[in-house]
Amino acid sequence: MTRSGQRNSIDRRSLLKFSAASGAVLATGMRAPAIAQSRAVKLGYVSPVTGPLAAFAEADNFILANFKEATKGGIKLGNATVPVEVVVKDSQSNPNRAAEVAKDLIVQDKIDLMLVASTPETTNPVSTQCEIEEVPCVSTVAPWQPWFIGRQANPGGGPPAWTGFNYTYHFFWGLEDVIAVFTNMWGQLPTNKSVGGLFPNDGDGNAWGDKQVGFPPVLEKLGYKLTDPGRYQNLTDNFSAQINAFKGANCEILTGVVLPPDFTTFWKQALQQGYKPKAASIGKAILFPVAIEALGRDGNNLSSEVWWSPSHPFKSSLTDVSAKDLAGAYESATKKQWTQPIGFVHALFEVAVDVLKRTPQRGDAKATVKAIAETNLDTIVGHVQWNGAGVPPFAAKNVTKTPLVGGQWRLKDGNKYDIVIVDNRTAPIIPTAGKMEPIG
């Protein structure tokens, strides 16, 4: 009796084990290319579809549908036309999961090129995996410092200790750009030049608040006085200490790189406690219309960096649509207001197609990397070329920058907001639509 029971159990146990193993084997078998010649080019794409960073990936489905449409006939590689396949994975806004899905894409799906977007929490684990797996990777939507310095073995070591990467490339802007944009905007207003800095202890916050590469040295040079109460933990529910410090130093300007829920908390508490700066330029938190709408009417004239907008005078190399038309198509397809990542996710796929077209030796990582390094493409977010322009020598190989301007959220009828570009001295090619106005 006991014996037969035990045998039963062994069967079940080994069955489960076997099915796990055979399932895995089967899955590999099915995904393995039948004939190398006719196989599709495979792109892996990782983004935070769910979780706290999901707003960044909101437009992914729209962009991917566009991309599928544009490449449905395949792309030309040398003399052959081959189909393109995109394998999309969700990082769940979790760096552990991002590393895991990157590994899956590389090992199981055997992708030819990795694409990854949105915040260092997503781009860094994926780029790190690609670097050690020797798979080419293009990333975007994370300022280049957290992406480059944050992936160094010794982030505090400085340029001689920092090394470049062989397989991972990045296009976006840097802290120096956002600092220039913010200070330009503040320069339009008469203020006491006293700045309060709200920097969390995370990838972005540490970079922005860094005494060498962040805000402090530049602000000092431009004659601003920075009050930095130190790094706080994300998802804090009490900002009284920071608010008191800013009130004490009479900070007429507020800046920082804050998570959306944290900024909502901070701003409500600040207004309750009677702190209202003349200018508040915040990174990350108020990129999205939903975040600013969450502030009700208190969001008027908050300012933010603008990396892409419908008024950017660029067009897609893939579909030939202008920035204005792409945003318009998104709004009519989804009935939602346009957001900045739309342009960059689209541009990521533009770069991918351009790179693949120049790599007839499909699947050859070294050739793909060479093609990435030789990119010279006008995309919907501006020119992408890893030529080291405006980037310090240690990062010149892996980083290229796209233009950045400053904008202010303006309340329009009801609870809706529009972002208005108010300063373009950093990129005069992008038109402004107004002047900086004080909060109040």
């Binding site: 090992v107 790190t128 160094q152 073995a153």
Partner: protein, 361 residues
């Protein structure tokens, strides 16, 4: 005790732990182990990676099971030691220039040392308070590591390719299996994961069969009674806590050798390193050695085929856990065990008549 010795049995009874099936299974298990060690010579890389995942989750689950299922210490703060191990790996390899495999072992030792003061603090709590206290401690660990600038602070840091591709024996594996460096590194981490999984299984099993295991079972069933028969409950529990911390630290170091990137939020993630582990143990069957094995297979299959559904996947995991707790509180294995009275890793002492079967194993 006194009553048992007052009426001595007439020598035809004995205490047995092994069952005939378990002995046969030991041989099968050994064969399986040999097969798994040799697997990289035939298997594809993705199978090796998936099995590494299964093995380190199994090892974590086995550790938590020992803690919660046997010592009665329901900790929701085991991510403290996973993260500690991971960070120690980075510190020891980047700043100490140690070989990663050696660093894994050392990370275990240091994690064990850290567990002594930690344990003395959290053991002041009982039951639900202990669970919360352990979580708070893990948060403290996270906040402390977020302040260490050399390890990237809140930003985190990456393992340079020279370290992750410089694991001892990588050249040997490269020539042995004729593979590239990343694949060779996978094979070595696979072996390390297999060793840790088999090692934790063996340690837990042997511990439970020892005298200390008997003490643990007594504590699990009724702590006050255990104390009254002379078991030093605090010392026994602390010993288990430290042992589990050391094993968890080694597993954490291995996990982050594979991930090659660490940040406080990922290393001390309660969802990844404790909630999933609890789920595995609960689904499989808490308080049994077989339970985590069953649980990890179920969890692996769910993750493999459903994880791409994002939020729905997490909702489904929660629903499964609730369903198991309501309808089969002993988990899959616990229910089977209850019905068929079976045990692959028998730890229960049975009183048998020695003269019935006649064999003296």
């Amino acid at each position: 005790m006194t009553s048992a010795s007052a009426s001595p049995p007439t020598a035809q009874f004995r205490v047995a732990v092994s069952t005939p099936a378990s002995l046969g299974l030991a041989a099968v298990g050994l064969l399986l182990l040999v097969g798994l060690v040799a697997l990289p010579s035939v298997a594809e890389r993705d199978l090796i990676q998936d099995l590494s995942f299964v093995f380190y989750m199994l090892a974590l689950a086995q550790c938590w099971n020992l803690l919660a299922g046997y010592a009665g210490l329901v900790s929701v703060g085991q991510q403290a030691f996973v993260g500690l191990g991971g960070y120690l790996l980075f510190a020891l390899t980047i700043f100490g220039n140690l070989d990663p495999l050696l660093a894994i072992v050392l990370a275990g030792v240091v994690a064990g040392l850290f567990a002594i003061p930690t344990g003395l603090v959290v053991f002041r709590f009982r039951g639900a308070y202990f669970a919360i206290g352990s979580w708070v401690v893990a948060e403290v660990y996270r906040l402390v590591f977020a302040q260490i600038k050399q390890l990237g602070g809140g930003t985190g840091t990456s393992l340079p390719p020279s370290v992750s591709n410089g694991v001892a024996g990588i050249d040997w594996v490269k020539t042995l299996f004729d593979v590239r460096a990343p694949a060779a590194r996978d094979i070595i981490t696979y072996w390390a994961a297999l060793a840790l999984a088999a090692g934790t299984l063996a340690v837990v099993y042997l511990l439970l069969r020892s005298r200390r295991g008997l003490a643990l079972a007594a504590i699990r069933d009724q702590e006050a009674t255990a104390e009254s028969v002379g078991i030093n409950t605090v010392r026994t529990k602390l010993a288990v806590y430290v042992l589990v911390a050391a094993m968890t630290g080694m597993i954490g170091a291995l996990i982050y050798l594979q991930k090659a990137r660490i940040s406080p939020d990922s290393a001390f993630a309660v969802l990844d390193w404790t909630a999933y582990v609890i789920l595995i143990v609960v689904i499989g069957g808490i308080g049994t050695i077989e339970g985590p094995v069953v649980g990890v297979i179920v969890f692996y299959l769910l993750q493999r085929y459903l994880a791409d559904y994002g939020t729905w996947y997490l909702i489904l995991l929660g629903a499964i856990a609730i369903a198991v707790m309501l309808f089969a509180p002993q988990g899959i294995w616990g229910s089977l065990q209850g019905r068929f009275r079976l045990a692959l890793f028998p730890t229960q002492r049975r009183l048998e008549r020695a003269d019935v079967s006649g064999d003296r194993t």
